[in-house]
């Protein structure tokens, strides 16, 4: 049986196109120091450090955990690096959580980052392969046909993705840390933006960001030593499946459905739309909101887009289940950290510490990440109340 654990500190950097003022070490350090300050703790209070980032091609630093051990105060402590492609921010948080939930560690620091300005994320993801035609055109090129299939089978109107793109940028405008802050963005502007990978337009895609996110997770008996309200970890789950196999359900992956069912069972959630107050879900391309609304059980199959269009996921429209109040991946995307930002922002909501993008009275929130060819899933549910 897992022991109780809670998030007692959260630290983020400003997300920007390029953080030219810091090295990679300086970037992760900034988030880590912010998390320690938030938790009212110092380096000596930390027993283990768990870090994560996306593929090494992004910065060309292989085994960055070695180089980063000084910056993260790892001398004499266990240090571990997690790697599950784009979901790594989520799975890193879960590995950190399990260190505490196992009873082996009392306080763990977890940090994820990406410094995308050091290379080019699109082509680092789509390198030429031996004996193959080079037709891979980044994550957008991979996901666009899957989105097209969702549009076909759901019969959703063409502008659902446009609505999500506007909604998440309006949310991002409330978040001082967001990379894109576009308070005046309009549907027409999104619709008129360049079609990059039809049906994905420029403004329906995530930006490339530099940034890092960190959390301190503490065991039950030490939670009270940190000054701010904790976010109790109520459920944790990971699932994976192969990228390609005959008959694979790519639009609504089985691994995502299984992962959600597992985390809801742990948290006692039977109807996620009703039981949760908000969710931070990995939506790097706008159409993934309606797709994940279905995959995560917030809407019946084929009807996720109806929630989006009705404003149910919008803070500005007073929706009953706001998604990505921080602005989401569509507003900030330091890839390796993007999943952890979802987990941390869910925790900020239930701590009542989300500032201008706070959902009033949020008590229970979902953090979600996915990665690879939508084949790695990581989720947690955090709550204001101790279970």
């Amino acid at each position: 049986m897992a022991k109780l654990a809670a998030v007692v500190g959260i630290g983020q950097t400003h997300y920007k196109t390029r953080r030219g003022d810091v090295s990679i070490a300086g970037l992760v350090r900034e988030a880590a120091v912010n998390a320690l300050e938030d938790a009212g703790l110092g380096w000596d209070d930390i027993e283990a450090v768990i870090i994560g980032k996306a593929p090494d091609m992004f910065e060309g630093v292989v085994m960055p955990e070695i180089y980063l051990s000084d910056a993260l105060g790892c001398n004499g402590k266990p240090m571990l690096r997690v790697h599950t492609a784009g979901s790594v921010g989520g799975s890193t948080a879960l590995v950190a959580a399990s260190h505490v939930q196992s009873g082996m560690f009392k306080r763990v620091l977890t940090v994820t980052y990406e410094k995308q300005s050091e290379s080019n994320a699109m082509w680092a993801l789509s390198t030429p392969q031996p004996f193959s035609a080079h037709l891979n055109a980044g994550a957008g090129g991979y996901f666009a046909p899957i989105i097209r299939e969702y549009m076909r089978r759901s019969g959703a109107p063409y502008d659902v993705g446009i609505k999500v793109a506007v909604k998440d940028r309006l949310h991002g405008a409330r978040n001082p840390l967001a990379h894109l802050r576009l308070p005046n963005i309009t549907a027409k502007e999104v619709e008129d933006s360049m079609m990059l990978w039809d049906p994905i337009r420029f403004l329906e895609a995530c930006p490339s960001s530099d940034g890092a996110c960190a959390m301190v997770i503490a065991a039950e008996d030490l939670v009270g030593q940190s000054p701010k309200a904790p976010a109790w970890i109520r459920g944790v789950a990971m699932r994976s499946e192969p990228t390609m196999y005959a008959g694979r359900e790519e639009v609504n992956p089985q691994a995502g459905r299984d992962c959600a069912a597992d985390v809801y069972r742990q948290a006692g959630i039977t109807d996620p739309r009703r039981d949760l107050d908000c969710a931070e879900v990995y939506v790097p391309f706008s159409w993934y909101e309606p797709m994940w609304l279905e995959n995560l059980g917030f809407a019946p199959q084929g009807e996720g887009w109806k929630l989006t269009m009705a404003g149910a996921t919008s803070l500005d429209e007073g929706g009953d289940i706001p998604w990505n109040c921080s602005g989401g991946v569509l507003s900030s995307n330091p890839i390796g950290a993007s999943g952890m930002i979802r987990f941390a922002e869910a925790a900020r909501q239930v701590r009542g510490d989300a500032g201008a993008h706070q959902v009033e009275g949020a008590k229970l929130a979902l953090g979600h990440a996915y990665g690879g060819g939508a084949q790695f899933f990581a989720m947690w549910v955090v709550g204001a109340n101790k279970p």
Partner: protein, 330 residues
């Protein structure tokens, strides 16, 4: 069964990274450009060169910079008798840990010497500077033994940086070269496609046909061996119209990259579509391969230039990926 050729191909994976140095490493590199060497004082008073951003013991941020000497002593060394292309010298040399005067922690650099017999722990060495330092570790071209014949004149130090901005960004080209050898299943596929034949493999458990084959079924986790020759007609499972040029690829955007399932196969692969209006491409559309001339065929999917629409009725969505080898009418 056709015996496959052994297929190996050189492969480069690389990128020229644009690295932000941060203030500490930036200070070191800015110093090098002035032919000066800076270290940083750690929490225990020791001087670390090159400077570390954070104290290795206390994790404190370090910023107490200390200029150290241009001479020092060899702590340990390793003779490289046969330099490789990436090495800083193309004649025999030594990698060495050198403790510069005023520093406590040795730094690694190379030493130019006539033979390993000249080297010893405790031997004195001196930095040799590049003619035009630019703010990179190679501004120190190498170290050489103090007092050896042919030694460079003592370098000028403390030059004014003049109008130059501090170094805060460097380019680091990192290019890795591999020989990629195709496994037996891909090699079989490529050997046959060189003959203009598309060959998949059937899973003995679920009976699904994979092309290109991988030698195992990812769903069942069992090896696949039975070969299945497939026609060059396919169905569009989905597609995207790409508006971005692919580096080093002559194809001009916008172009259609489609997920295509060959008749008789149960998995899609991506390929180009052409000889059609992009706006007319649709899910369920029937297409056929347009091959290069046979004398250009090689071990590559590129033997098929692209797929073009053919005059056959669309495949119902629930049948895509499930057609027999004989196609829709089969």
């Amino acid at each position: 069964m056709v015996q496959p050729d052994v297929l190996s191909q050189p492969f480069e994976l690389g990128f020229t990274y644009t690295r932000s140095t941060g203030p500490v490493v930036g200070r070191f590199l800015t110093g090098l450009r002035q032919r000066r060497i800076f270290g940083v004082r750690a929490s225990d008073g020791r001087v670390i060169v090159p400077p570390a951003e954070y104290d290795p013991h206390t994790a404190a941020a370090l910023d107490d910079f200390v200029e150290v000497g241009q001479e020092g002593e060899i702590v340990s060394w390793c003779w490289v008798a046969q330099p490789r292309a990436a090495h800083p010298m193309q004649r025999p040399f030594a990698w060495a840990m050198i403790r510069l005067d005023g520093a406590d922690i040795p730094m690694i650099h190379c030493i130019a010497a006539a033979s390993p017999d000249e080297l010893a722990t405790g031997a004195r060495v001196r930095a040799v500077w590049a003619d035009e330092p630019r703010g990179f570790i190679t501004d120190i071209r190498c170290f050489e033994l103090v007092g050896k014949a042919g030694a460079s004149p003592a370098p000028a130090t403390g030059e004014d940086a003049g109008e130059l901005e501090p170094v805060d960004r460097i380019e680091t080209p990192i290019y890795l070269h591999y020989h990629f050898t195709a496994g037996s299943a891909p090699a079989r596929f490529l050997t046959r496609i060189k003959q203009g034949v598309l060959t998949g493999q059937r899973c003995p458990r679920c009976a699904n046909v994979y092309i290109p084959p991988r030698g195992s079924c990812p769903a069942c986790g069992v090896p696949t061996q039975e070969e299945v020759v497939l026609p060059d007609k396919a169905t569009v499972q989905s597609f995207t119209v790409v508006a971005i040029p692919i580096p080093n690829n002559p194809i001009k955007p916008p172009f259609v990259v489609a997920n295509l399932v060959l008749d008789g196969a149960n998995i899609s692969f991506i390929h180009l579509m052409s000889e059609c209006e992009n706006a007319d491409v649709h899910i369920g559309q029937r297409v056929q391969a347009v091959w290069k001339p046979a004398d250009e065929w090689t071990y590559a999917m590129d033997n098929i230039r692209y797929f073009k629409p053919i005059d056959e009725p669309d495949v119902p969505v629930d049948k895509i990926g499930k057609l027999p080898i004989t196609g829709l009418e089969g």
